[in-house]
């Protein structure tokens, strides 16, 4: 999924690191393998010594649902007095109405602006000014839409009043107070991301601040005030310029998705089109919030040094305050089967990239584990087929890989491949070498050695993820929200153990066809520079 997050800066602490986080990422799940439906065969996984560690983790997980429908998953880990939190709102780019792209992400930014009690010195005085600002903004838009017919002096007067009211409203705002409270109390990793599938809010506290998280996070969505709306709009437009307009790969991906999908909203950029971002109003964001931030659309994971009984009691006290709401509308658009290869070319100031994607079913499809095995065999490590062939063997690419779940995995999505041309080689050579490998996996069974390797790596990858509070919180909530049960995070191992060479052949043959393919070529502005 393409994720965009709230801020690109973190202050430098003691730990080594840089203070800029550029988050243009096409993120997979936390694991190299995604989840899927549970298959009956579980022989290999159960035999392995690591299964006892996985079982121990499962035994430390509890879950509960409040009367209003809000769901909580709690994993006890007492290795250090810290705890990680994640609030998962089951709303993302896919839920945006046409012409309103970027609204989920805009809302994510505004969820850092405070409440009627946080982020303001006097909400009673501030509120009428915020309302007046919205009126003025609507009036200015109306006049601008009228075009030449409008009296320029009247428009200028409106703009002057807008600035004046904005300044007055801002005089009541306490900038970033919500984040300041969290950080001053010892919170780390405070951020949020919006992807095509979901909006996720997260940070970690020392474990003596459990109730502080309960108070702050519940108030955040109980009583939010979307103040500083018009300044934040400018910030988000800067974010779009950074991630998309001035990023060759960002711009290419936006054009690629709009080509690969004709109907499903995966075709839209999560950050939003600039014109859509500019056109959004505060009441539209408010209405979007009221539709999608209902408790039965929210899932929380809490991992670390906590007592689950206490978590449950506090959750009821704090989040039980949310009134239940109707289930948000589902995404109804269904991407039709692709019938012919599609291809685009983007020219920007960049060395070449070759990208291609194939439609595949969602995370919950029985073949999901097979797709994961295919990605692993093609891409995981120096022994993987793409690295061996394209990077080490023919040396046409500096790097090449394929992965699942692009731009999300709640809905049928893409298996995406890309390669960066090596010096003196063209995107056509990368394409030819890539197709050779893709044809091979669709025509000959993979070896037992390769399949075993993929399975072992999946197990080890899950095992290695168990010791991170924030990583486990993210994985548990992801599986709960997307598959309906956090246990599928662990059950997926059984599914991947059950994958056979014949499964891979069947799925690869059905997926890797010419007509199911969309291609993007990113090429330099100066064609001559591309050998």
């Amino acid at each position: 999924m393409r994720s965009v997050n709230f801020w690109g800066v973190w202050s430098r602490g003691l730990a080594d690191g840089w203070w800029r986080v550029v988050c243009i990422t096409l993120m997979l799940g936390v694991l190299a393998v995604g989840g899927g439906l549970v298959l009956p065969s579980a022989a290999l996984a159960d035999r392995l010594p690591i299964q006892s560690y996985i079982d121990r983790t499962i035994a430390n997980v509890t879950d509960f649902t409040l009367e209003n429908g809000m769901r909580f998953i709690v994993l006890e880990r007492h290795e250090s007095p810290t705890v990680s939190f994640i609030t998962y709102a089951n709303v993302g780019g896919v839920d945006e109405p046409p012409g309103k792209t970027g609204i989920a992400h805009f809302l994510e930014h505004l969820a850092f602006k405070g409440t009627t009690r946080i982020g303001t010195t006097d909400y009673a005085a501030e509120q009428p000014l915020l309302d007046r600002l919205d009126e003025l903004h609507r009036e200015i838009k109306r006049k601008q839409a009228a075009g030449a017919a409008i009296d320029p002096d009247a428009l200028a007067a409106l703009k002057a009043e807008f600035e004046q009211v904005e300044t007055a409203a801002n005089s009541y705002a306490i900038q970033n107070e919500f984040g300041q409270i969290v950080q001053q109390a010892g919170g780390v990793g405070l951020n949020a991301t919006t992807s095509a599938d979901a909006t996720r809010y997260f940070y970690s506290f020392p474990s003596n601040k459990l109730e502080l998280w309960m108070s702050l996070e519940s108030e955040r969505f109980l009583d939010p005030v979307f103040r500083e709306f018009y300044k934040e709009q400018q910030v988000i437009l800067e974010e779009r310029r950074l991630r998309t307009d001035n990023s060759p790969i960002g711009a290419t991906i936006e054009a690629f998705l709009a080509t690969a999908f004709t109907t499903h909203p995966y075709r839209h950029p999560t950050i939003g089109f600039a014109a859509d971002i500019e056109g959004l109003s505060r009441d539209e964001v408010q209405a979007f919030f009221e539709t999608y931030y209902v408790p039965n659309n929210l899932t929380v994971a809490i991992v670390g040094d906590v007592n689950p009984k206490q978590v449950r009691r506090l959750a009821k006290t704090y989040f039980g305050r949310y009134p239940a709401g109707p289930t948000p509308p589902p995404v109804t658009q269904v991407e039709p089967e692709q019938t012919a290869e599609r291809s685009i070319e983007v020219r920007m100031q960049s060395e070449p990239w070759y990208i291609e994607g194939y439609h595949r079913p969602s995370l919950n499809h029985p073949d999901n584990a097979t797709y994961d095995a295919i990605a692993s065999i093609l891409s995981n490590g120096r022994t993987s087929r793409l690295y061996s062939a394209l990077v080490q063997g023919q040396q046409v690419a500096l790097y090449a890989e394929g992965f699942n779940g692009f731009p999300g995995d709640r809905y049928p999505n893409l298996m995406l491949f890309y390669g960066l041309t090596a010096p003196g080689h063209s995107v056509d050579e990368v394409q030819a070498a890539l197709h050779e490998e893709i044809q091979r996996i669709a025509s000959e069974p993979v070896s037992e050695i390769e399949l075993d390797r993929a399975k072992t790596q999946a197990r080890a990858s899950l095992l290695r993820s168990l010791n991170s509070n924030s990583g486990m919180a993210s994985s548990l909530v992801n599986y709960q929200a997307k598959t309906g049960d956090w246990r599928n995070l662990f059950e997926q191992l059984k599914a991947i153990d059950a994958v056979t060479a014949a499964d891979i052949l069947r799925v690869a043959r059905a997926t890797f066809t010419d007509q199911n393919r969309t291609i993007a070529r990113l090429l330099p502005l100066d064609a001559a520079a591309n050998p």
Binding site: Y53, L190, P206, N208
Partner: protein
């Protein structure tokens, strides 16, 4: 080398470092567990009404330090939470010691130690063995340090540790793998101007340290062409030696048995290095200039401004840390003013960034739309001036100190954090309790201290300003910053191989 591209496209490099240096790892940290506190109230409370019990005292995990006869230092920390073992050798080496006509030698050597095979095993054999058991060994040489790390399931400890020892002691730098690596480096040179942020980082560093400084210089086609397999072997032989290595091991093992294993695998390795390395001198190359890299295709300006900074062992390091917190983060002055109030940027920062053993930078910047470039620079400069000219408020001081002190426990969430810190401090010659000295320094910092360090260390008139952006759009406004100085163009075209 391709870290930038990988970062852009995929957060975890898979091919080179399948599990990207699980340096050190996990463990049973010996922290007294916090007893669950009874909830104070059954009704929801506003945050201001809550009170919190204190956290328990931090307790460090048990570690064992041994020195082998050949001079290699070994730290061991047991951690039985998961059946995993990992380790990391810190090697006294760095690209800052490579000859000026062979820039890239250190990085290539670092890569080829792992990918170039050993006396007894081909590179492909090593890859196959490791990946079949989901293990990894990776090596690299960066600016100030070399690293070799491994990660394995504990049941595979012997296999992987044996490979790790072989790779570190007997690399053969296979010629075809060197050709591959050099070609990859050429590819990264060709791609180094694709991301405006990378251009800004690289060019500002060159302006401040000097283009030929070991701390700023870049690999070029011509310097790559000068590097031979013999050079790699010599660089390795001169620098990679047990007396220049600190090895840290953490995970599911018995310390005594592991110590024996390490002696078995590394005890017979004879020390070969016999020369002291003098650190390169650092003097500011450029002070107080405005520079522009013209990119007519960009709608944003990528702004970086900075001057030479200092070391972490400065007596004022903690106070400068408090100053950083006042300027940055949620509620920090730059974020509040430049981003939230003025809406000028998504990213904005200004930070004192100190290094362990050579002067770091004071660096500020971010990105803004072309037409607001000068306003953005003015807004940042205004905050730099303000923290020098005015005392911060008591609330700001408290918030800045609390940020570090209340989150201090996160420096001890995993035993591997403690292990890698111990090794880092020993490597750079810092006291082993440096982190606690820093904590005490933060606690003692006053309002006057913050203003004093800001006035002492931040010199706004020395700031070198670099803009990567559309010169035609940006220049008129840049010239308004200072009528006496016009922006000097910087040519970033990539020199062809000679």
């Amino acid at each position: 080398m391709l870290s930038l591209l990988r970062r852009l496209f995929y957060p975890r490099p898979k091919s080179r470092s399948p599990w990207l240096i699980v340096v050190g790892c996990v463990t049973a940290i010996a922290i007294t567990l916090l007893q669950p506190q009874p909830s104070a109230a059954a009704t929801a409370q506003h945050y201001t009404d809550l009170e919190f019990p204190p956290l328990p005292e931090i307790q460090l995990p048990d570690s064992t330090r041994v020195e082998l006869d050949n001079g290699m230092v070994v730290y061991l920390v047991e951690d039985h939470e998961l059946p995993l073992v990992s380790g990391s050798a810190t090697i006294r080496i760095g690209s800052r010691f490579e000859p000026t006509d062979k820039i890239g030698l250190a990085a290539l050597t670092g890569e080829l130690i792992r990918t170039g095979g050993t006396r007894d095993r081909s590179a492909d054999e090593i890859d196959a063995t490791l990946e079949q058991i989901a293990a990894a060994v990776e090596t690299s040489i960066e600016l100030t340090v070399g690293t070799a790390s491994f990660s394995a399931l504990s049941e595979d400890t012997d296999t992987v540790l044996t490979l790790f020892a072989d790779i570190l002691q007997h690399p053969v730098f296979d010629a075809s793998k060197l050709d591959l690596a050099k070609n990859q480096f050429r590819g990264s040179i060709a791609r180094r101007n694709d991301d405006p942020n990378e251009i800004a980082d690289r060019e500002l560093t060159k302006l401040i340290y000097g283009a030929t400084s070991p701390y700023a210089r870049t690999v070029e086609y011509s310097t790559l062409d000068n590097i031979t397999r013999r050079d790699l072997i010599d660089f390795y032989t001169d620098h990679v030696s047990p007396d220049r290595i600190i090895l840290g091991l953490v995970g599911d093992f018995d310390t005594k048995a592991m110590k024996q294993k390490v002696i078995e695998l590394f005890g017979g390795w004879a020390a070969t290095s016999n020369h002291e390395l003098a650190l390169p001198e650092v003097t500011p190359a450029t002070v107080n200039g405005i520079y522009i890299v013209d990119r007519p295709d960009l709608s944003q300006s990528y702004v970086e401004m900075g001057h030479l900074g200092g070391l972490r062992n400065s007596p004022d390091y903690a106070q400068l840390g408090v100053m950083n917190n006042v300027l940055n983060g949620f509620g920090g002055r730059l974020f509040d003013e430049v981003r939230s109030r003025q809406g000028l940027a998504y990213t904005v920062y200004a930070a004192w960034s100190a290094n362990y053993d050579y002067p770091g930078l004071f660096i500020a910047g971010g990105q803004t739309r072309a037409e607001s470039t000068a306003d953005f620079i003015r807004a940042i400069r205004a905050e730099i001036e303000r923290i020098r000219d005015e005392a911060i408020t008591p609330a700001e001081l408290q918030a800045a100190k609390d940020k570090t002190l209340n989150s201090f426990i996160f420096n001890f969430a995993d035993p591997d954090q403690t292990l890698s810190r111990l090794i880092r401090y020993e490597y750079y010659g810092y006291p082993s309790d440096f982190i606690f000295q820093y904590q005490r320094g933060i606690e003692a910092t006053t309002i006057a201290d913050v203003q004093r360090v800001a006035r002492t260390y931040l010199t706004p008139e020395d700031l070198t300003i670099l803009v990567v952006g559309n010169a035609a759009q940006v220049n008129p406004s840049l010239n308004s910053l200072d009528p006496d100085r016009t922006a000097q163009p910087i040519d970033i075209s990539i020199p062809a191989a000679s």
